[in-house]
């Protein structure tokens, strides 16, 4: 399979002490909370044979969320309520209807929608390929982001009219730790190295 198609797995993560030296050009932002230590994350992406860029955690968060359009919470909630209704309608279709989705797909799709709302993604368009999946779609002028949700896999596709930019697959069991998926998705959308924050590794620092 080509390099454009990656399967994302838990990645090695090293949390370094804040006293260590940063590479040239790296910005040191203030910690998120006044009493928190500024963690620096080294994330090894799928194709990395060497360590990738070093950034303080707060900088990574600020960068990865910089493209989120400002939408009021109530507006966002309303949009997601409409999405919930649309998913419900897909589930409630007649048994013989070709557009009806299966229950496990519905449950996973609802879970994903809830996480997307938590991560302040604008509400997506929704369509289906049939009973086995639901597709969430965001588009701007030239780029499309699709998130295909099936009972056991989430597949992200980022494309332009010219080419497929990126494809990533996540097993749905990773939804139990959405912190692994949605920031990674945002990073992929911005063509940045995919960064996962490994809670276990972070906890070691405490």
């Amino acid at each position: 399979m080509s390099a454009a198609s990656n399967r994302v797995r838990l990645q090695t993560l090293v949390v370094l002490d804040s006293g260590l030296e940063l590479p040239d050009g790296a910005l040191l932002s203030p910690p998120i909370a006044s009493d928190a230590q500024p963690h620096r994350l080294f994330a090894l992406s799928a194709d990395s044979s060497s360590a990738t860029t070093t950034k303080p955690e707060s900088q990574i968060l600020r960068t990865t969320f910089s493209s989120v359009p400002i939408v009021s919470n109530s507006e966002l909630r309303e949009e997601y309520q409409e999405l919930g209704v649309a998913l419900g309608e897909l589930l409630a279709m007649d048994a013989g209807d070709e557009w009806r989705i299966e229950k496990p797909v519905y449950y996973v799709a609802c879970h994903v929608a809830a996480e997307l709302m938590d991560y302040q993604y604008p509400a997506p368009e929704v369509f289906t390929h049939g009973p086995k999946s639901v597709v969430f779609n965001w588009s701007n002028e030239s780029t499309n982001l699709y998130l295909t949700v099936s009972a056991d896999t989430l597949s992200a596709l980022i494309s332009t009219p010219q080419r497929i930019q990126r494809r990533i697959e996540f097993p749905t069991k990773q939804l139990f730790d959405p912190g692994l998926i949605f920031p990674a998705l945002r990073s992929a959308q911005l063509e940045q190295p995919v960064v996962s924050i490994d809670k276990a590794a972070s906890d070691l620092d405490d």
Partner: protein, 218 residues
């Protein structure tokens, strides 16, 4: 039946029908295509220009398509005016663009992509089958379908919007909401003579099929 390979340079048309390709009043490009699972393949339908040689023929095919769906719903007792199927227009793409799917970066799970002439049981002689065969790589088939429809949309040109005679009462007609794909509008660049040649060929083939093949099928 022997399926005939469609030459790379030939045009294909995908018909857009309301409400299937729409979300509310808005056209949704991702819903233009519907890929059906067929073992390790996904298949869908298009019309081959050799058997719909002019825009009029392309649209007649679309009108028949919507009409047949409405009739089927009626016969099942499920027809509702609110869910009436309305043909809105067609998008063009080439057979070459379909076959190029197999060489697309990021679609390594595709073993082959092809389009063949396959006359439908209902006698639609322009019907062609677009078939994408997948490798058994264990990758998510549903995700692959999304990638395929994304690439197909980007290979399309159009729309050729249309209002069928039976839908002139629909106002506003949803064909006004069809959007232009990234490749732009469809321009029929065939010369007058070429069109005439297509038309003559179409009438001969239609006559031949109706006379011989259909009788054999019956």
């Amino acid at each position: 039946m022997r399926y005939r390979r469609i030459p790379d340079g030939d045009n294909l048309f995908r018909h857009s029908v309301y409400p299937v390709s729409f979300k509310g009043p808005r056209f949704q490009s991702a819903k233009l295509w519907r890929l059906i699972d067929d073992q390790m393949s996904v298949v869908t339908s298009v019309a081959w220009q050799r058997y719909v040689p002019t825009a009029r023929h392309v649209h007649e095919y679309g009108c028949r398509l919507a009409l047949a769906r409405n009739e089927r719903k009626r016969s099942e007792g499920k027809y509702q005016d609110s869910s009436r199927q309305i043909y809105c227009g067609a998008y063009q793409l080439s057979a070459r663009a379909v076959r190029a799917l197999a060489e697309t970066d990021g679609l390594g799970e595709i073993a082959s992509a092809n389009v063949v002439h396959r006359i439908e049981e209902n006698g639609e002689i322009a019907h062609a089958e677009l078939k994408v065969t997948l490798k058994s790589t264990g990758s998510d088939v549903e995700g692959t379908k999304t990638a395929i429809i994304d690439r197909l949309w980007n290979a399309c040109a159009g729309p050729m919007a249309h209002v069928c005679e039976c839908d002139v009462d629909v106002a506003p007609h949803p064909s006004g909401h069809l959007t232009t794909p990234p490749s732009g509008q469809y321009l029929d660049t065939r010369s007058y003579l070429s069109c005439l040649w297509f038309l003559i060929g179409f009438h001969i083939r239609s006559w031949y099929w109706r006379t011989f093949h259909r009788q054999r099928a019956l």
